[in-house]
């Protein structure tokens, strides 16, 4: 029996992957255990497996999060230092570009801090709700900021489209920082996960209205979301292989947080279409909930 159990280890020529070994162990052990004990043994090993997988996954998520925390800090420091030393030699456009970079890094940093709070099981920070003209105060501002991120990736920044004339004037009282984070996460994803072919790059933002809700629609023609993963993408730490291959950094928490925020304020975030276009709807109830820490908990 021992010989049989150790087979996968020797087959691997000493390079024993613990998870693989345990998986083999489950398969092989079943044949040698009396039937009434089998179930108990199997569940015990599966528990070990899930714990191991969980730990590995957790480490990976933490490494990605801390990497993403350091990245904007490093960005802010290096850009500020660069400006401090070189500002007299730079033209106005480049100076503006560098200041925009710092603002984007601040936004990223804020998002990462929220992800950490989320992982630690704490409620998201709440600021006072304030009267907000959604498109003017949030969507358009973020689009303007992110156009240069798109340009840096070789995309035409004008292809992040919105048509002010078609957009109703939505005025709500909302925690602006939070809604900002939702819109930011959706738009940065649309840029990060665009197809390599620059010609296909398009991100389109529009608004629809029902009796109870406004719906801000974000459409992009990027790599999309595979069938079967439509809900998984909202789970903690989930990142599709094609997303990792496209963009290695990312904690897999952006959409989780965005949905959490929307549900907290009585709205929702839904995936309406998964491919060409990928379409997310931010559902904003016309009457938003007043959120306090008590209701969040």
């Amino acid at each position: 029996v021992n010989e049989k159990l150790m087979e996968p280890v020797s087959q691997a020529n000493g390079r024993c992957d613990v998870l693989d070994y345990l998986r083999h162990l489950v398969e092989r052990t079943e044949a040698y255990i009396v039937p009434e004990k089998r179930k108990e043994f199997e569940s015990e090993v599966r528990l070990i497996l899930s714990a191991l997988t969980g730990e590995q996954k957790q480490q990976e998520v933490f490494e990605r999060i801390f990497h993403e925390l350091r990245a904007p800090v490093a960005g802010i420091r290096s850009t500020a230092s660069f400006l401090q030393r070189r500002i007299k030699e730079l033209d106005d456009v480049l100076i503006q570009h560098k200041f925009d970079d710092i603002l984007i890094d601040c936004e990223i940093l804020k998002g990462q801090m929220w992800k950490l709070e989320h992982l630690l099981g704490r409620p998201l920070p709440i600021s006072k709700a304030q009267k907000t003209i959604v498109f003017r105060d949030i969507v358009v501002k973020i689009i303007k900021q992110l156009r240069q991120v798109a340009a840096a990736q070789g995309f035409d920044p004008a292809k992040i489209e919105y048509h002010p004339a078609d957009i109703p004037r939505i005025i709500i009282s909302v925690d602006r920082a939070k809604l900002n984070q939702v819109v930011y996460n959706l738009l940065i994803n649309a840029i990060k996960y665009a197809e390599d072919d620059c010609k296909s790059f398009t991100v389109r933002t529009m608004v629809d209205e029902t009796e109870d809700n406004y719906m801000i629609k974000f459409k992009d023609w990027g790599i999309g979301i595979k069938k079967g993963l439509e809900e998984t993408i909202f789970e903690d730490g989930f990142r599709a292989p094609e997303a990792i291959n496209k963009h290695i950094t990312g904690s897999g928490l952006g959409l989780t947080i965005a949905r959490k925020i929307m549900r907290e304020i009585g709205g929702d975030l839904v995936l309406a279409n998964s491919f060409k276009p990928t379409e997310f709807h931010v559902v904003l109830p016309k009457k938003l909930k007043e959120v306090t820490h008590d209701t969040v908990r």
Binding site: E60, V73, F82, D91, D101, N245, I248
Partner: protein, 144 residues
């Protein structure tokens, strides 16, 4: 020429601009397949490589152990050493895993720098310690 390999231009833009302003010729590559092609085809032109660690594995390293991209730079570094054992390499990363740093500790042609601790002018100083000062400052190149 400096071959600068990093998957996120935004995070290293100030380093690249500072290198340009200091007179260095930089070839920035955000895709490791393309970076490897440059390294192999223009090995005689490459004086130094600046390399990130966490990058998408792309086609070259897709079947290798990169820990889902968390360590792609290590595999790229091995390729550099196969091609050019004495080529100066600067690892410029946000990865703090001590085991990663240890990987390079015995390589006398390699410097390990953390992005959050290294300002653009400090990177230039390290580059100069390897390559010396370039003769001409290319400030005008940025005005275009």
């Amino acid at each position: 020429m400096i071959l600068f390999v990093d998957d996120e231009i935004r995070g290293v833009d100030s380093y690249i601009t500072e290198l340009h302003l200091s007179g260095f010729d930089v070839s920035f590559q955000e895709n490791v397949d393309e970076a490897l092609r440059v390294l192999e085809e223009r090995i005689d032109d490459v004086d130094l490589v600046i390399l990130d660690i966490m990058m998408p594995p792309a086609l070259t390293f897709i079947d290798m152990d990169t820990q889902l991209g968390l360590r792609t730079g290590l595999r790229f570094y091995e390729k550099i050493r196969q091609e050019a054992p004495g080529l100066p390499v600067i690892i410029l990363t946000n990865v703090v895993d001590e085991r990663v740093r240890q990987t390079f500790s015995t390589d006398s042609h390699c410097s390990f720098l953390m992005k959050e601790e290294c300002l653009p002018f400090e990177l230039v100083e390290v580059v100069k310690s390897w390559l010396g000062s370039p003769q001409v400052e290319l400030i005008s190149s940025l005005e275009n």
